[in-house]
Structure formats: structure tokens, C-alpha cells
Symmetry: C2
Subunit: 435 residues, 2 copies
Amino acid sequence: EERKYKELREALTNHMHPIDLAILLEEFDQKHMVIIFRLLPKDDAAETFTNLNSDMREHLINALTDSELEEVMEEMYVDDTVDVLEELPANVVDRLLMATDVEKRAQINQLLQYPEDSAGSIMNIDYIAFRKEMTVSEAILKIRQVGLNRETIYTCYVTEKRELIGTVDLKDLLTSGESRTIEEVMDTNVMYATTTDDKEEVAQTIHKYGMMALPIVDHENRMVGLVTVDDAMQVMEDETTEDISIMAGLSPNEESYFGTSVWQHVKNRLPWLIFLMLSATVTQMIMGHYEMALAVMPQLAGFIPMLMGTGGNCGSQSSTLVIRGLAVGEIKFNDLFRVIFKEIRVALIISGILSVINGLRILLMKQGDPLISLTIGLTMACTIVIAKVVGCSLPLIAKKVGLDPAIMATPLISTLVDISTVTVYFSIVSVVFSL
Amino acid sequence: EERKYKELREALTNHMHPIDLAILLEEFDQKHMVIIFRLLPKDDAAETFTNLNSDMREHLINALTDSELEEVMEEMYVDDTVDVLEELPANVVDRLLMATDVEKRAQINQLLQYPEDSAGSIMNIDYIAFRKEMTVSEAILKIRQVGLNRETIYTCYVTEKRELIGTVDLKDLLTSGESRTIEEVMDTNVMYATTTDDKEEVAQTIHKYGMMALPIVDHENRMVGLVTVDDAMQVMEDETTEDISIMAGLSPNEESYFGTSVWQHVKNRLPWLIFLMLSATVTQMIMGHYEMALAVMPQLAGFIPMLMGTGGNCGSQSSTLVIRGLAVGEIKFNDLFRVIFKEIRVALIISGILSVINGLRILLMKQGDPLISLTIGLTMACTIVIAKVVGCSLPLIAKKVGLDPAIMATPLISTLVDISTVTVYFSIVSVVFSL
């Protein structure tokens, strides 16, 4: 308790970063949080508000007076406001929108209309635009007067009838003669994206070219905003978390681990577990056909977990490499046969090595005679090749038909490999031992 | 062939981005690649060289004359040079170092001494430093004269006896009176990292605070360089790829999927496969004890894949959530008991639901009598709880003892869960059916 207040006093005197202020505020109970929030300097208050979790924000909105709320809304960037609005219940949204001036409200409504995951939904609409007739000194003067946030002034845009025709780096402005025109110093080789482009592609472009911001145009080629490098980083982190979740058979979740209730965790995990559990029935039915074989040679059952485990691991290695390759843009659907050819060669070598190691182990541990050792080796070799081919091709096919490749990861691959493993195993067993 | 040359002609006339030039060059054979490389404008050549893959770079170094190589080296940033050097064989490194002037060579040697994965190993040593007595107009003049790459001029640093005492944004310089001193306009609340800090933490700091660059100081607090936001993005992407690889039982690999030879793929995948295959022997030995039970009731074997599969999926859901939570800094070791408590509650609800669904399925499909149905339900419930507790705690314990938490992912968790599943299953079976 005392520590928190000490931190707080230091924070308020030493101008703590709004992101740290938000983390600190979340440690207080709601009543004290509101009191402290009121003590913050006006410009810090808006940024701190943006960084609070949604529960805290909702409580604050209810606790602040209309005029206090208006002050916060005035300082907030439009794209941050939209992010905040999207997480709030409808009645709170109304209160927030009433605290916003008419012009900003129109911009917010515009942004809310872009599809989820589109460049439009994450773009920033504050940027500096020049006309090509302006001189360098007029342009610098404009930057001085407008004063937006940092990322958005270091690259400026040149528009003509709102159409994007060039970019100018602030660095180039500073190093050019003051009487030259923007047209002379601008770079007309502009990279841009469209409002409806996927935000993940926009993030990849920014990352690939080491850009600080990518301009966004509408379908009439008019500039409407830009996505900055820190937005791109957030998109990359979120998309990766989403991919990793889906790869583990979890419904993706934007809340934090502790911020998610037990029931929500159950809801996120249950669908895949039920589906996979029921799919395992197929494996069971196949094994049911060979009950007589197991009654005669019960030791055959003991090899099944190892065969399935190895197959599953081989398959998930391949699917993971392909899913990640697709995510970072290194593998494309057209590479399907190249990938399969590579995986088959890898699988043949691995299956040779593993079969020999395992065969020797069985003989050394006296778990079976040479015939059993051979049967297991053969099954393992077939399983590994099947697992790797299935594992590498399903994510590519998923991508092609518009599904998320991450679905084709370990859980599903393992279940499919399980089915093929028992099929291969008992087919070979019935031939070898005439069961 | 014709398409490539058409693209090339366009590239050379329209000033293609060096990153795209590198991608295009890699499509040509080595002989033509060298010819085209010689046609590039000098400043593009260096950046294109940086972005080529290591085979191409090695070939170029061997093909270019000493003076051509010197020209390329002159234009390259020191941190890029170090990245290039680290991937080249020793004899080629010598040739490159000979083409570098004495001062740069000293800087390169300094950078090569920082430990792998440290902030020092990825930092940029070109930045703009002011003295606090300088006026704003002197500072702007200095920026105009020095002209480094973009990210590094938009935040400038104030040093005194090389010690870092403040930062100034270019924006603040532009909006301040020209005769004010740097001391008056600088921000003394400086965030920084040390050369030996982990590069992943540095990337997380840059991301968290939306910074464009983080200054790096040595152990005497003297500023020695900075890490920019695009380096941070690269670190985040590489670390994620590494985590995802390890989570799938793959040795991490910096090369691309196609850039890795079949043999290297085998080497990256084999160690874990062998280890996990041999670990599965434990499961087999436990099942060996119950061969008599299986001979009497062979239908019991059919349930094993489903029990193991469900357990493995439950465990990997939990371990994945914790591994990702650790990676994005949301979960810490101190949360161990909070995490376990949450996972136990989730596991109890999930095990209740899955046991009931599965019990009904067994009865409906006539795969067993109510006693078998009950046995399977009980085993499943125990397995799920064990899987979730093991899955969530192992990554945290790994982190605590200094291992990579990503090791404690699906492959290892599944193997451990397999062992516990058969133990629980046959213990319950022997009691219920007195086998």
C-alpha cells in the first residue's frame, strides 16, 4: 500500500510515462484510481486513459463529469478513440460520443465502418499534407504550426485534389534549399496501401521496407490516413499470438490470460477438444476391428503410443515450418510441390534413422523378436512419410481455400496421423503375423 | 527469362527499392547477378548487398575487385557490416575487412565482441549527439550537416563527457526558439538499455513505449549506440520464429525454409524426435505390465489414443498460453500459483463436460457397458487435470531455472501426459475390473 503511494508521488513529480501511469493506476481500487486520474496533467490523462484496461476505462467514464470527459476526448487521437469505443458496452459508447465534438464524431463514425482487420480500421487520420507548389520554407513552417505526434511529421505527404502524388522526408526538407518547391524535392515513387487491405499485409510491408509509416488511400486513390510503425508492431504481435493460439487448438482471445475469466477460458478451449475427442473415435473403431489380434498378441498395443507420438511430432514439425513460412511471407501456395518434394526427402532420411534406432532398442530391451522389430520399423517409416506430407500440405491447401493455415497445426495433424498410424500398423501386422 | 529482364530494366530506370532489387537479383544466376550488381547506383548497391542472402553475398565478394568492394563497404552501415560478417566463412571475412578503412574496422571489432543476443550486438553506432550548451539553431545546423539515416536523426541525444544526460526530438527543436539552449529544451527523463541487456527486452521496451529508438550505454553509463524500431521489429519476428520452432520440437534455424538443405532440416528435427521416441518407451513399459488385462479385455486398448490425444491437447493449450504470456511479458514466475489455481478450475469444468459427452458416446455407440463408460470418464477427468497443471507449470519452472520456456511445449508435454495417462488408466482399470 505504502509502496504504491510512494511510487505514485514519484510518478506525479517526475513526469512518469503514461504507459507506466496506466499500469500503476490499475493497482489501485476504483475509488482511488479516479481520484488520482483527476490529478494527472491534461495531456498525460488522455494517453493514460488510452492505455488502461477496458474495465478501468468503463469505470472512469461513469465516474467523470461531462466536462472532464470532454477534456479527455479532446486530447485523444481519433484512432485511439475508435479502439476504445470498440471495447465498450453500447450505453457507455453513447456517453463518450456525446463528449466528442461534431467533427471528430464524423471521423469516428467513418473509421468504425472499415471492416475488422482492414488497414482502415487501424489507421491514423492525422498527417501532414503539402501542395506541390509550396516552397521548402513554407512546408517547414507548416510542420511547426501543426505539430502532430512524432511518427506522423517525419514523413509528409504531397497531395493534389486529395490524391497522393509524393512523399517528403523531413530530413530532405531540412537539407534542401529553402526556396525550392516541394515538387522538386518530393519522392514520387510512393508505396501505399488501400483502406480495405489486410492489416497484416500492411504491417509486413512496413517491416520489410523499414518504413516509419505507410500512407493509406481509398478506392478513388485519395489519401485518407496512415499506419505507423508502432501500430505495425502491435499488429504483428497480435497476429502472432492469434496464430500461436489457433495452432494449439484455442479460440483466439484479445484479452490477457488473467483478464480472461475461467468460463471464457473454458469456452475458448472446449470446441476443439470436443471435436478432436470425437474424431479420435475413428482411431478407436479401426482398432476395434483388430481386437482379436490384440487378444492374441497384447504386446502389440504397447507400441501404439510411440508410433503415434513419433508420427504426430514429425507432422507437427512440418506443419509448423509451413505455417510460419506462410506467416512471414516466405512460402506461397505455388510452392506446394517444392515443399512436398523436400519433406519427402527429409522424411525418408529421418524414417530410416529412427526405424533403425528403434529396431535395435526393441531387440536390446527384449521387447520383441526380429519380426516384431521389423514390423514396427516398417510402420514407423510409413507413418513418418505420411505425417510429413500431410503436415506440410494441409496448411498450404487451407491458405488456398481461404482458411487460416494455423488451424492445420499439431492438434488436427496429430489426430489425422493417429488414424493413419493404426491403419498402417494393423495392415502390416495382419500380413506379417497372418492375424 | 524475358520477364526478369523486363523487370530489371524497369527497376534500374525507376529506382526500385534496394530490398526488391535484392529479391530480383537472387533470381538471376551468379554470373548475370554480378554484371547487374555492377550497374547499380553506388548508394543502392550497398543496401542491396546487405539484403542479399549469404550465398549470393559470398559469390559477389569473390567476384568484385578490391576497389569495387571498398566502395560498397564505404557505403554500408557498421551494424549491417557486422551482420554480414557473422554469416561469412573466415577467408571471405578477411577479404571484406581488408576493404574497410581502419576506423570502421576498429568499430566492427568492438561490435563483434558483444555477446550474441545482446543489445550491443544489434545496435547502430551512428547517432547525433549534442552538447547541452549548444543553441537550437546550432543543433539544427548540425543535423543538416551530418545527415545520417532517418530514424537516427529524429531523436537526438545530449551527452556530457560521453555520458547520456538527455534526449531532444527533432520536432521539439523545430518548435522551439532558435536561441534557446539544448539544456532548456531537452528531456532528462531518458530511457535507455545497457550493451549487455537481452535484445528481446530492448525490443519489448521499444514496442511498449512506442519509441523510434532506444539509446544504449556501456557499463560506465557512456552512450555507445542505439537500437531503432525497425531493428526491434526484426528481433521480435526472429524471436517469435525461434519460439514457434522450439515449441514444435525443432532446433531454431536462421535460414529460410528453402534456403535450408535437406540434411540441415534432418539435423534440426532429429534430436527431439529421437529423445521423444525413446521417452515413449516408458509408456510402453507401463503398458507391458498390463498385457494380461489387455489379453482379457482387448477393447480397453481402443480408448488409449483418445485419452492420450485429449490429454495432450489439454496440456498443450495450457503450456502455449503460458509460453506466450511469458514471451509478451504478461505472466511472470511469481504468478505460478495463480496460474495453477486458474488452470485447475478450468480443467475441472472441461473434464466434467468432456467426460459426460464421451460417456454418452460410448453408451450410444455400444462401445462398452456403463462400467467401462465410467472408467473412461474417470481416467479422462484425472488426465485433463494432470495435463493442465503440468502444461502450465513446466514453462514457468523452465523460465525460473534459466531454460527457454518454449521447450516445455506440445511434444514434451504430450510425452509426459502419455505416461501419466496410461498409469492412471490401468490403475483405475485394475481396481474396477479386478484385473
